[in-house]
C-alpha cells in the first residue's frame, strides 16, 4: 500500500492511495468550508442536484444508465460535518479496468462523468435544472423530517446543538426544513461559484494503480483553480468547556429514553485520547460496557466516541426512565476511576489490541483507506495504520490516567420516554 499527497496550489490537494489488491476504485472530490446556519443545507442540496445529471447526460435517467452500464459505477453526493467545517462534494466508484469483461476501460469514462457533473452541469438559462432542484429540495426536506425516526441519532443531533452552542459545529449537516425551503436556484449557482473560488479542495483517488489517466484528467480540470489564494484550514478547534455543566431534557412518546453526555478536554495527543475512549466505552470489554451495562444493567447501550476536531467525548446511551440518574452517576464515576488510575494493565493492553486490530483492517478497503488518509489530512499528518499502532502500543497507563483526568462533564441531554411509541389502527 502506498500513499502520496501533492499540494497542487491554491488550496487544492491531490491524495492517492494505491494497493494492487483492490478490485474497485474510488474518486472523491471534497469542498470544505466553515459550517454555518445556511451553508450545510446549500451544500447538501447543491451536490445532490449536481449528481443527477450534466450537460452531456442531461437527465437523471441518462446519467444513471451511463454509470450503471460501466459495471455498476456510481456518482453520488456527500455532505458531512468535520468539526466546525462542512465537507461536501461528489464521489465516484467503479471496478478496476482489469476486472471488466475483456479488460474494457471504464475508469476514464466514469471519471469524465464525475468531472462534468462539477464543471459542466446541466443548466437552464444559467441555472441548475428546475426539475431536479424541486425534486432534491423535497428529498432534503423529507430527509430532515424523517431524521426524527431514529431516536438514537436524533438525540445525538439535538444534543450537539447544546454541546457546541455558539460554535459552527452546532449546525447539522443538512440544515433545517426552513433553510432548505428558502434556498433558490440562484443561491445554488452562487454557492457553486463560491465553492470553486474559495473552498479548500481535497481530491483523493484510491485504486489498484491503474488510474493514471484519470488522475491526469482530474488535475487538468482543476488546473485553473490552483492559482487561488486560499488559507489552509486548522481543523482542530477544541470546544470550550461550559462554566457549569448544561442539563436539558425533551419528552418523546417512545419506550426507551436516550441520554447523551458530553465530556470535554484539551488533551493534546489525539491517539492517546482515542485509546482512552476505547478503554472507557469503545469496546465490548470497556469500563462502561462491563460496569454500567453488564454488572449494573443500567442501560442497553452506552458507548463513548471521541470527536478529535472538537476535543469532545460523547457517551450516548439507551436507558429506562427509572435508571436515568443512576446511569448518569455511574458513567461519571467510571470516568473518575479512570482518572485515579483504577483500571487494570490487562484492560489497557486489551484496548490497544482492539483499536490496533480495527485500524489495521482498513488496509483491505479502498474506501476505508481513503477515509483514513482524509482524517490524517485534518490532523496535518500522513501516518499509516501501522505507524499509528506503533504509537498506541507505546502509550503508558500514566498517560491514560492523565488523559482521563483532563475530561470534564460539559452537557447532559435527555430525550425522555413518555411511554408507548406505537398504536395500531
Amino acid at each position: 500500500m502506498e500513499f502520496n499527497r501533492e499540494n497542487l496550489g491554491g488550496g487544492v490537494a491531490f491524495s492517492r492511495v494505491t494497493d494492487k489488491k483492490f478490485k474497485s476504485c474510488s474518486v472523491k472530490i471534497s469542498f470544505i468550508t466553515e459550517n454555518s446556519y445556511e451553508s450545510s443545507a446549500k451544500s447538501s442540496l447543491l451536490f445532490s442536484i449536481l449528481a443527477t445529471s450534466n450537460a452531456k447526460l442531461p437527465s437523471r435517467t441518462a446519467l444513471t444508465e451511463a454509470a450503471e452500464e460501466l459495471y455498476g459505477s456510481y456518482i453520488s453526493s456527500f455532505c458531512s460535518r468535520l468539526g466546525d467545517y462542512i465537507t461536501a462534494g461528489l464521489e465516484c466508484g467503479f471496478i478496476a479496468d482489469g476486472n471488466t469483461i475483456g479488460k474494457e476501460v471504464i475508469s476514464t469514462k466514469a471519471v469524465d462523468i464525475l468531472l462534468d457533473c462539477i464543471f459542466d452541469p446541466q443548466l437552464e438559462g444559467g441555472l441548475l435544472s428546475e426539475e431536479y432542484f424541486l425534486m432534491k429540495q423535497k428529498e432534503l426536506c423529507d430527509a430532515i423530517a424523517a431524521s426524527v425516526n431514529n431516536k438514537r441519532a436524533y438525540a445525538v443531533r439535538e444534543a450537539r446543538k447544546l454541546i457546541f452552542k455558539g460554535e459552527p459545529a452546532m449546525y447539522s449537516d443538512h440544515g433545517s426544513i426552513e433553510d432548505a425551503m428558502n434556498i433558490t436556484r440562484e443561491d445554488l449557482s452562487e454557492h457553486l461559484s463560491f465553492l470553486l473560488e474559495n473552498a479548500v479542495t481535497e481530491i483523493s483517488v484510491s485504486s489498484d494503480g491503474s488510474t493514471a489517466e484519470c488522475e491526469k484528467m482530474i488535475k487538468d480540470r482543476f488546473a485553473p483553480f490552483t492559482k487561488r489564494d486560499i488559507k489552509p484550514i486548522t481543523y482542530r478547534k477544541n470546544s470550550p468547556l461550559k462554566a457549569e455543566p448544561a442539563f436539558a431534557e425533551v419528552a418523546e412518546s417512545i419506550n426507551q429514553s436516550k441520554m447523551v453526555m458530553a465530556f470535554k478536554s484539551a488533551y493534546d495527543d489525539i491517539y492517546t485520547v482515542k485509546l482512552f475512549s476505547t478503554m472507557f466505552g469503545g469496546a465490548p470489554f470497556s469500563m462502561l460496557f462491563e460496569n454500567v451495562r453488564e454488572k449494573l444493567s443500567l442501560c442497553y447501550y452506552c458507548p463513548s466516541a471521541y470527536i478529535d476536531t472538537k476535543g469532545t467525548m460523547i457517551v450516548d446511551s439507551g436507558v429506562e426512565n427509572s435508571n436515568l440518574d443512576a446511569a448518569r452517576d455511574e458513567i461519571i464515576k467510571q470516568l473518575q476511576q479512570a482518572a485515579e488510575g483504577a483500571f487494570s494493565d490487562e484492560l489497557l493492553e486489551n484496548s490497544k489490541r482492539f483499536i490496533c486490530d480495527s485500524f489495521m483492517s482498513n488496509y483491505d478497503s479502498p474506501y476505508n483507506m481513503q477515509d483514513w488518509y482524509s482524517a490524517q489530512v485534518t490532523r496535518g499528518t500522513a501516518f499509516s495504520p501501522d505507524e499509528i499502532c506503533e504509537k498506541l502500543n507505546a502509550v503508558t497507563r500514566e498517560q491514560i490516567r492523565d488523559c482521563a483526568a483532563s475530561f470534564r462533564l460539559d452537557t447532559v441531554f435527555t430525550v425522555k420516554a413518555t411511554g408507548e411509541a406505537v398504536s395500531a389502527q
Partner: protein, 427 residues
C-alpha cells in the same frame, strides 16, 4: 483423509474449499491473497422459526417460548468463568452475534491473531452455561432491547407487513419475542434447544480473508467435539396462499409516513430458491430501480425520496417481495406500483435496460469479492440451502433473460396477494 471439495468459478477465477469435517461440521474456507482481515462465522440453522420441534423418532413436538433462539444467543456469550468478549479481548478481534428468522451466527473480524480468535469462537459456542440467576439478569437487558425495537418505526412497519402477509408461519412474530414470552425461559429449555439445534451436523463454519486452510483444519480437529446427528425436525405450520389481511396501519412519532407494500408468493427450496431470488431481484431493479420508468414517475409526482427501494425474503416456507420507503401518499405509490406490475406482465422489460442491470450486478459481485466481510457473509447462501454453492448466484445471473424476469413478475409479484403496512405520524 480429509473430505474436501474445491468449488471454483472459472470465469471469475475464484475458488474456495468446502471441508466436510469428521465431527459433522461443514467448513467453508476462502483464502484471499494479500488481505489482512479475517472474517469468520459459526452458524447454526436455528432461528426464531424453530419454536416447535422434535427429535428423530419422537412422537410429540416440544413447543418453546417465542424469542428463545435470540435469548440463547445472548446467553452463549457467557460461560462459567467469563464472557466471550473477555476471551476475544485477549486476541484483539471484534466479535458479535445475531439471530434471524432461520439462523443464529457468531462472528468475529480481525487483522491479527485469527487463529487464536478461531479457537475462542469454536470453544465458547460449544460450552453452554445457563443458570436461573444469569437468565434473570439477561431478562432485563433483552427487555431493554425489545423496548428499543418498539421505538423503531421501520422495524414496526416491517413486522406489520409480516403480520399482514402471513397468518400461520412463525415469521410474523418478533425474533426477540416479547417481555412476556422471554419471562417463560428456563435453563432447562435453553439446554434442550441448545442440544437439539447446536448439533454440529446442523451448523457450518465460514471463514474468509487472511486464513490458512491447514491451520483451520488443525484447530477444528483439536476443538470440535464429536456429536450425534440428532436430525431435528422443526414444525412449520402450513400457510395459506392468501394474505392474512390487506392492510395494517400504525401511528408513531415519525416525520413522514413509512410504507411497505408486500407480495406473497409460494416458497421454493434448493437451487430453485436462489435462481428465483436472483431473477426477481433483477426484475425488481428493472421495474423500480433508479433507471426504471416507475421510479421516474414516482419522482415526477413527488411521491418518493431516496429511501424508496425493494426487498426480497426467501426462506423455508417463505417467499415475498416488497416495495419500501417514505411518502406523503403511500396509497398513490401502491397504486402506481400495481399499475407498473400489470404493464410489465403485458409488455415485458426493455432489453437494453436488462443488459445494463445485468452488467451492473456483475460489477457489484466483483466489488463484493474484494471485501472479506462480504465474501464471508456470501457463504450464508451455500451454508443455509442444501445443494447450493457460493457461485450459484452468478451462474443464475449469467443464464438470466429479460423474458424470464417478466415471467417471475407474473408468478411472484401478484397484486392478488398484496398487503400493505403504513406507519403514519401522530396527529
Amino acid at each position: 483423509m480429509i473430505n474436501k471439495q474445491i468449488i471454483r468459478d472459472e470465469a471469475l477465477g475464484e475458488q474456495y474449499s468446502l471441508i466436510h469435517h469428521k465431527s459433522g461440521l461443514d467448513i467453508l474456507v476462502w483464502k484471499m491473497e494479500g488481505y489482512r482481515t479475517t472474517e469468520a462465522m459459526f452458524v447454526t440453522r436455528y432461528g426464531s422459526f424453530n419454536n416447535i420441534f422434535r427429535k428423530a423418532g419422537q412422537k410429540d413436538f416440544t413447543v418453546v417460548p417465542e424469542g428463545i433462539a435470540h435469548f440463547l444467543e445472548h446467553k452463549l456469550f457467557e460461560n462459567e468463568d467469563c464472557t466471550a468478549f473477555e476471551l476475544y479481548a485477549q486476541t484483539g478481534a471484534y466479535a458479535n452475534a445475531y439471530t434471524t428468522f432461520d439462523h443464529t451466527a457468531y462472528l468475529f473480524s480481525c487483522s491479527q491473531n485469527w487463529d487464536k480468535s478461531l479457537e475462542v469462537l469454536l470453544t465458547f459456542v460449544q460450552e453452554p452455561y445457563f443458570t436461573k440467576e444469569s437468565i434473570d439478569k439477561e431478562l432485563g437487558i433483552i427487555g431493554q432491547e425489545i423496548r428499543m425495537g418498539l421505538d423503531s418505526p421501520e422495524r414496526q412497519c416491517f413486522y406489520a407487513l409480516l403480520r399482514a402477509l402471513y397468518s400461520e408461519h412463525p415469521i410474523k412474530t418478533d425474533i426477540a419475542g416479547t417481555e412476556e414470552t422471554i419471562a417463560q425461559i428456563t435453563p432447562e429449555l435453553l439446554y434442550e434447544c441448545y442440544d437439539n439445534y447446536y448439533d454440529l451436523h446442523n451448523m457450518f463454519l465460514a471463514i474468509a480473508g487472511n486464513v490458512d486452510e491447514d491451520k483451520v483444519i488443525e484447530i477444528a480437529d483439536r476443538l470440535l467435539r464429536d456429536c450425534e446427528d440428532r436430525s431435528i425436525e422443526t414444525r412449520i405450520p402450513s400457510e395459506p396462499r392468501d394474505v392474512c389481511q390487506k392492510r395494517i396501519e400504525l401511528t408513531f412519532p415519525v416525520g413522514l409516513p413509512i410504507f411497505n407494500i408486500g407480495f406473497k408468493a409460494e416458497p421454493f427450496s434448493g437451487e430453485e430458491r436462489v435462481r428465483k431470488t436472483v431473477a426477481v431481484s433483477v426484475a425488481l431493479e428493472l421495474m423500480s430501480g433508479t433507471m426504471s420508468p416507475l421510479y421516474k414517475r414516482l419522482l415526477d409526482e413527488r411521491l418518493i425520496n431516496s429511501t424508496f427501494g425493494y426487498d426480497i425474503m426467501a426462506k423455508d416456507g417463505i417467499f415475498f417481495t416488497a416495495f419500501t420507503g417514505e411518502s406523503d401518499d403511500p396509497d398513490r405509490v401502491c397504486e402506481l406500483c400495481l399499475e407498473e406490475i400489470e404493464r410489465v406482465k403485458q409488455e415485458g422489460f426493455d432489453q437494453k435496460l436488462f443488459d445494463i442491470v445485468r452488467k451492473s450486478t456483475y460489477g457489484q459481485i466483483i466489488r463484493e469479492l474484494s471485501n472479506p466481510e462480504r465474501v464471508c457473509s456470501g457463504f450464508m447462501v451455500s451454508g443455509m440451502i442444501d445443494g447450493v454453492d457460493s457461485f450459484c448466484q452468478i451462474r443464475a445471473l449469467r443464464d438470466l433473460t429479460a423474458e424470464q424476469c417478466r415471467q417471475e413478475v407474473e408468478q411472484l409479484i401478484d397484486p392478488q396477494y398484496c398487503a400493505v403496512s403504513v406507519v403514519r405520524p401522530e396527529k
